[in-house]
């Protein structure tokens, strides 16, 4: 039977050859770590290949496409707004703001890092999360640090983007539109 797969590639080996090979292997497994490692992987069946992980960049592109779809974000950034009066920018900003805000709220939970009002005094004890809070100004000395909250910071608690099916080209942030008829 010549079914495709791994098993048909394995040659039939006679008993004497196998005896010699077993003797040889026992020594190589003892003294050759890399050989031992290769034999080890053979004794367990190979796991099914994992589905190819989506590259992170396509997630970023997906977010851009989402903000474009819901709030014309890419259109807005790609247009040169220097020559337009503020009123025009304002009108466009409403479209972008409403759409992108809804899209963001539907797909992510974003909360301030610090609950205090900006301008409120803040004391940071030793061991504070330096990723979440950044010291600015006259940065020196030892904790506790007493200062004033200048920016509350933002933390994304959740980001759920749509699942990608059907192998569409993630680089297309918005398809060109051709009207027929």
């Amino acid at each position: 039977m010549n079914t495709p797969g791994v098993t048909t590639d394995v040659p039939e080996i006679s008993f004497l050859t196998r005896l010699w090979f077993a003797w040889l292997c026992s020594f190589r497994i003892l003294f050759d770590a890399r050989f031992a490692g290769r034999v080890w992987t053979v004794r367990v069946p190979a796991p099914a290949p994992l589905p190819p992980r989506l590259p992170e960049v396509s997630r970023a592109l997906q977010l851009l496409a989402l903000l474009q779809r819901e709030g014309r974000f890419v259109d807005f950034l790609q247009q040169d707004i220097a020559d337009f009066p503020d009123a025009d920018v304002g009108v466009a900003a409403r479209v972008v703001h409403e759409g992108c805000r809804n899209a963001l709220r539907a797909h992510a939970d974003i909360e301030p890092v610090r609950a205090e009002k900006e301008g409120a005094p803040v004391v940071l004890e030793a061991g504070f999360d330096a990723d979440a809070v950044k010291l600015v100004g006259d940065v020196k000395g030892q904790p506790p640090y007493a200062g004033v909250l200048r920016h509350r910071g933002w933390r994304a608690k959740r980001l759920d983007l749509p699942e990608i099916v059907g192998g569409h080209d993630a680089r297309i942030l918005a398809a060109a539109e051709v009207e027929l008829g």
Binding site: F84, V95, G166
Partner: protein, 605 residues
């Protein structure tokens, strides 16, 4: 084994599914996140599945879902948004087509005006695809097997005003989608179940014996009224649905369109005309502006911006404003005018069988439709023992349902109008049953009812909302050009409960063997006292409403073709909630001989 109680809101514009385990009491029910395409190749789970179906063109490739790679059509959010680009390939409002009085509802008629490469489908098939999508989403979520939707107790909601054939077609679509244990529930009842569920035991303090609860359900595409009577039954409170209204194709979408039309005219005055694509965004922008204005009394106007079609956002974006004044004039005064109790909707006649299209309500005033409903149903509680008969049914409480009715000013106007009518008729004002989050109430209520059917909790009674009549042509000499007079014989009385049979009427009909015989068919939502067999020689114009005809075909087995066989019609209401008519021959050739009478879905066309 059945593990879950499932409620499906099969809406004109959206579907939703609520689920709760049957065994564990007190476990809150859950709204299923329905995976659906939201953009090409992007699937997202959302609580609402828009009831839209889009037929992809061959250039668009397969429309893959996590459970099927090679699908040629799209259901849900992407169908709706893609339909704006290519409207001829989109099916919308399939549910309204399902109750269309004259279209052949099993024929491939949708989308109307579809291009040649689209294989048109019937309203039943479209409904089936929406339910199928929910089935697949449910099975993907629970893992299928024992927990597959086909094995669960499923309640599907229909408008209270759906007639017998529209109900039957809904069940047909559900069975085709693989839902084996399906039961129908009227939407306003579902809303009340949801309210009871949300209130917990507190509901018993809110509703008193003698209360008449008016459910005003204004959805995206339809408006539905029901009256539910709370009666004292030996110390325990019983709820009985005593009346339902007509089928009114009028809803929140009409309101958004009306506002968009207003704003569109203002834009046109500035020589800025939105194209079809911008029109869709304009309607959406108006809905958002409307919701802001109706929820914030201090706001005088809300800005509206509609993006240009091309990639240049600045310079091409249309700007307008929706003012409080316009919203008040268009919505509050336009859709909820303060009218007298004797107001009637204009142009109620259903006639117009000539062209294929949906029978949208010709009068947008919901208060006029309500006045008509209450006046028609003045006798729904029976004749008072003493004193003057009321001019209208007197509700004592109102329950609102549907997204539109979240708007305070609309509720206030409706309640104020209703109170004025009641006061004039010597009745106390109504209370508003509130305090419950009615988001997705119909799906929640349907799920609660699926549990109630297992004997857990209070059940609304009431049976069928219509008495049904068969038209019998009188044997008089034919006069050219004059239709022979028709009398109507009651075959199914008002208020038949599920799983019951009507008495066999004494009168018989003659049916020709071997050929289909059609009978005219009528329904009445107001004649409560006719028993099976009652023959009406005449009736007031609007007491009886003509429904699509019924058809019976007697096979020729054992009988001579062309013979006339006398039969009697027996009506049954199935456990599912549909009406079943059967013809029993007076002289059966074998025991239990009977034939199914088809409720025609083809109409006159």
């Amino acid at each position: 084994m059945t593990r879950f109680a499932v409620g499906i809101d099969l809406g004109t514009t959206h579907c939703a599914l609520a689920v709760a385990p049957l065994e564990a009491d007190g476990v809150p029910l859950e709204i299923l996140g329905v995976p659906q395409l939201v953009a090409p190749g992007q699937v997202e789970a959302r609580p609402l599945l828009p009831s839209f179906l889009y037929f992809a063109h061959e250039t668009e490739g397969p429309q893959a879902l996590p459970w099927q790679a090679g699908r040629r059509f799209v259901v849900g959010e992407y169908a709706r948004s893609r339909g704006v680009d290519a409207p001829a390939r989109l099916i919308a409002s399939a549910k309204s087509w399902l109750s269309h009085p004259t279209a052949d509802r099993r024929a491939g008629i949708l989308p109307l005006g579809a291009p040649e490469d689209v294989e048109r489908i019937s309203p039943v098939e479209a409904t089936w695809h929406y339910l199928e999508h929910l089935c697949e989403a449910f099975d993907a979520h629970t893992g299928g097997g024992d927990a597959a939707l086909s094995k669960q107790d499923v309640v599907v909601t229909v408008p209270a005003s759906f007639d017998a054939s529209a109900r039957e077609l809904t069940v047909e679509a559900a069975l085709a989608a693989g839902i084996e244990k399906v039961t129908l529930l009227e939407e306003p009842q579902a809303a009340l179940y949801a309210w009871v569920l949300a209130m917990g035991e507190a509901w018993r303090r809110e509703v008193r014996p003698g209360d008449v609860i008016l459910v005003v359900d204004v959805g995206g595409g339809t408006t539905d009224f029901s009256a539910i009577h709370a009666v004292d039954d030996g110390g325990s409170l019983q709820l009985v649905r005593v009346a339902v209204g007509d089928h009114i194709l009028l809803g929140g979408d009409n309101m958004d369109l009306a506002l968009a039309h207003q704003v569109g005219q203002k834009l046109a005055a500035e020589a800025k005309v939105p194209d079809r694509w911008q029109q869709a965004s304009l309607v959406h922008a108006c809905r958002v502006a409307k919701e802001r204005l109706l929820s914030d009394a201090k706001l005088r106007a809300a800005p509206i911006a509609v993006a240009s079609r091309g990639s240049a956002l600045l310079g091409g974006t249309l700007r307008a404003e929706l003012t409080r004044d316009e919203v008040t004039r268009t919505l509050v005064d336009g859709f909820f005018p303060s009218v007298g109790a004797d107001a009637r909707p204009a142009g109620r006649a259903r006639g117009g069988l000539t062209q294929l299209g949906l029978h949208y309500a010709s009068d947008p005033a919901i208060t006029r439709h309500l006045a008509w409903f209450l006046a028609r149903q003045a006798g729904a509680l029976g004749v008072p023992a003493a004193g003057r008969a009321p001019k209208l049914l007197h509700p004592t409480a109102v329950l609102f349902n549907g997204g539109v009715m979240k708007a305070g000013p609309l509720r206030e106007r409706l309640v104020a109008t209703l109170d004025a009518w009641l006061e004039a008729d010597g009745a106390p004002r109504v209370r508003v049953l509130g305090g419950a989050d009615l988001d997705l109430a119909v799906a929640r209520g349907a799920c609660a009812y699926a549990r109630v059917r297992r004997g857990k909790g209070l059940r609304i009674r009431g049976g069928t909302a219509r008495a049904c009549y068969v038209g019998i042509e009188s044997a008089v000499p034919a006069v050219p050009g004059v239709e022979p007079p028709v009398s109507a014989m009651c075959v199914a009385p008002f208020g038949m409960e599920e799983g019951t049979e009507a008495e066999l009427p004494p009168h018989e009909l003659g049916v020709v063997v071997g050929e289909p015989v059609r009978f005219r068919f009528f329904g009445s939502t107001v004649r409560r006292d006719d028993v099976a067999g009652t023959v009406l020689e005449q009736w007031k114009g609007d007491e009886l409403e003509e429904l699509p005809p019924i058809e019976v075909t007697l096979p020729a087995e054992g009988r001579r073709e062309g013979d006339v066989v006398p039969v009697r019609l027996r009506a049954r209401v199935t456990e599912v909630g549909t009406l079943l008519l059967e013809a029993e021959p007076l002289h059966p050739l074998k025991p239990d001989e009977r034939w199914r009478v088809e409720l025609s879905v083809r109409g006159e066309g």
